[in-house]
Symmetry: C2
Subunit: 103 residues, 2 copies
């Protein structure tokens, strides 16, 4: 099956303000925590969130456009993963620090 | 000279979402970078920023209420410092990662 990546910023286009704004919202932080526990990625529908599908898609879009999350399409599924390597290269420690926050 | 601390959240009252939102704004990030280079603190008027004094005070208030910055009053001066120890204890690596971002 072919896999197609949804457009996203290149590593050198990622801006720290956008990353921080993307992470600084409770639903998006929940998504990021779930993706951190799923290196192979999670499909949009598998995310357990107390929001509608369209709100979920909106939050994933903000995370993707900020450079936090990568999404690829496999058939009818959209699989998202955390851009750990890019974030760690750009802002060493940031993601680990955020993920270590008490929930 | 006596020094009085402006009210701020205790360490265990700090929430990561508020910290990220506070940091994810260009002027506030500039303030945080300046404070990171000044362990003894900076008075509000010493901050070189392309904004009015009231906007500057507004941004410092957001940083203080989020738990990122501590402010104390000495006579007529308000000295702000970065709450490095608190942030490092709560979110190890976060601040270092943010400060390592290219400007």
């Amino acid at each position: 099956m072919t896999s197609k990546q949804v457009p996203q910023p290149e590593r050198d286009e990622i801006r720290v303000e956008a990353v921080l704004q993307a992470l600084g919202e409770p639903v998006r932080l929940t998504i990021v925590r779930a993706l951190a526990d799923a290196p192979a990625g999670i499909s949009c529908g598998e995310l357990e969130l107390p929001v509608t599908a369209s709100t979920r898609a909106h939050h994933l879009k903000i995370l993707r456009e900020a450079g936090v999350v990568s999404t690829h399409v496999e058939g009818t599924r959209r699989i998202s993963t955390l851009r750990r390597d890019d974030l760690e290269a750009l802002y060493p420690g940031l993601l680990t620090g955020v993920l270590s926050a008490k929930q």
